[in-house]
Amino acid sequence: MQFFMEVLIGGLLSGVMYALVALGFVLIYKASGVFNFAQGAMVYLAALSVVGCMEKGAPLWLAIILAFAIMTLFGIATEKFVLRKLVNQPPIALFMATIGLAFFIEGLAPMVFGSAPRALDLGIVDEPIPAILDAWGIVISKFDLVAAGVAALLVTTLALFFQYTRIGRALRAVADDHQAALSIGIPLQHIWAIVWGIAGFVALVAGLMWGARNGVQFALTFTALKALPVLIIGGFTSVPGAIVGGLLIGASEKLAEIYLPPVMQSLFGGNFGGIEGWFPYVLALFFLLVRPEGLFGEKHIDRV
């Protein structure tokens, strides 16, 4: 039981990290209807620019500010030079354009900042908290708790921002109905630029967390792909959905990784590790059968 709890909590905490990436997807999808496949690559770019700036001698806080500037500029440039030119194209064309964007980033970022895997030190130690270890005998890393705290803070800030600021209201209006938002005088282009800026910021936070955890390396973009099943489970348009979906994926994949291979081994023999690699996708696939719009998504009605 204790072991189970440990696996479960570990999974939930790693799910927080998935949720961080998924959040960026949701923001852009809500505001502009673009499914941004490049979000994973943006996480990679953000982490690389922090590490790159620090290698040039900048302190951590300055590197983070610089990386934020880079991400914002990058987001605005994407909106201006790619997405604006694709207005009125079918969503699938926009999706493929963001795949192109992902490759663009994956080629450009290592060229500018170097491609060798590097560690990112945020000053948070990745070791079990002794108090919890003594009281319940469960290993929980301090770093994971900080990551969970950061995610909670980020979501709260975003929720407040969306709810109470002028820009936030405009964002929600645009998400609801582009035409109606335009007709009451909301500048659509500015709003999209802002959304891409915010998505860049979320990518930066995710990049910091992932980078500090696993090192800044190319594999970051693959890990970010795990955000896709998170979205399917949570729903494409829901911020709480991204969080819940992330937790579900994180917990289930870790449990599957621990408990499925022995079962399969006794059935077929051989070694069945690495279930983590596909489990979230297959889980999402089954989820699609039951509830295609996700847990918190809006039901989509087709009209001819």
Binding site: F103, G107, L285
Partner: protein
């Protein structure tokens, strides 16, 4: 006024409905076939066959498969490489486990196996579409590769799932040299490309295009969505499966599951975006473009860097290559969403009017 198509009147339905109704096209295709079947084997070197022509044909076939699914039936797939893997491993196992099975039959069975798997993973397309489907096909990509790695039966208990393809023997003749393999691959690809060209203009192809343009409207005019979409998945996976079998038997010789990576799926997707979504010709143009670009960069970049006196490493080449792929994808989607095939068509239009465009 290089050529004109005026004055070709059809007097029978058969003449009107033939695959290439315009005489110049028929002549062009015959010349093309003559060149690739007769002239190229005579002049190309060993390197050309094994490094450029054979992979070009195989990837064209895979791109053709994806184009049927994505370009004609409008279902986006990010798992084409996995279906190629199914084809490769199925062909290997049919050769291994059924005594004396002719290789072409096992290629056909490999295609059918891939088609079955394709239908399985195409099932979600009945109630989801767009990016949702993309994620479902990602599941296929990761799951199939994992299965082939972890279930040792598929690779006949070899270590880490590597298989070595058996010899290609047809009617007692062994296809060993690159030239013979090229001719074999070329024959298969030519037949399947003509079949695809025929298929997309039949009622099946029209149903696919109707579903692509708007599936609800297609259902309203009486196209049954389920068989149509699943057929698209089956045919597409069949093409990818045969391409995978050829990839293992005629190109690499020994393959491992990890070779059929997500990256390869993306590459095939890029081929059809750059070549032309919804075009048979585009699949070939795109495959040629995507395969030749890295070779071109490998040759020109060090030279250019040497000219400018810049520091240069092999990693930079691969980064520039990825960067260029991404840029080109965005460029083509923005400027010419129908790809190189459309450019070819525009060129033809211009030539037809040249030099009096009005």
């Amino acid at each position: 006024m290089i050529y004109r198509e005026a004055g070709q009147f059809k007097t029978s339905y058969a003449a009107d409905q033939q695959l290439f109704p315009i005489r110049q096209d028929r002549i062009g295709i015959l010349i093309l076939l003559a060149v690739v079947f007769l002239a190229i084997p005579g002049i190309a070197s060993e390197y050309w066959f094994s490094a450029i022509l054979i992979p070009f044909l195989i990837f064209s076939l895979a791109a053709l498969g994806l184009n049927i699914l994505t370009g004609y039936a409008g279902q986006l797939s990010l798992g084409s490489a996995a279906f190629m893997a199914v084809g490769a491993y199925a062909a290997y196992n049919f050769q291994l486990r059924i005594d004396g099975i002719p290789i072409l039959i096992s290629f056909g069975f490999a295609g059918l196996t891939a088609a079955g798997v394709g239908i399985l993973f195409g099932l979600p397309s009945l109630w989801i579409k767009g990016f949702y489907l993309a994620v479902a096909t990602l599941a296929a990509q990761f799951f199939i590769v994992w299965c082939l790695t972890k279930f040792p039966w598929f690779s006949n208990y070899s270590s880490s799932g590597v298989i070595s393809a058996q010899k290609v023997v047809i009617l007692g003749h062994e296809f060993a040299s690159p030239r013979e393999k090229y001719l074999l691959v070329l024959s298969i690809v030519a037949v399947m490309a003509l079949a695809a060209k025929n298929m997309v203009r039949s009622s099946t192809g029209r149903a696919w295009m109707a579903v692509r343009d708007m599936d609800v409207a297609a259902a309203v005019i009486g196209i049954r969505l389920m068989p149509t979409k699943l057929l698209a998945f089956a045919v597409s996976s069949f093409y990818c499966g045969v391409a995978g079998a050829l990839y293992a038997f005629c190109y690499l010789g020994s393959v491992e599951p990890d070779g059929f990576s997500l990256d390869m799926s993306f590459r095939i997707l890029f081929m059809i975006i750059i070549g032309g979504v919804g075009s048979i010709l585009g699949s070939f143009l795109g495959a040629a473009f995507i395969l030749l670009l890295p070779i071109f960069l490998d040759i020109t970049l060090p030279w250019a860097a040497g000219l400018l006196g810049l520091p240069f490493s092999n990693a930079t080449v691969s980064h520039i290559q990825i960067l260029l792929f991404g840029t080109l994808i965005m460029f083509f989607l923005i400027v010419e969403p129908h790809g190189l095939a459309r450019l070819w068509q525009i060129g033809k239009e211009k030539l037809r009017l040249w030099p009096f465009p009005h």
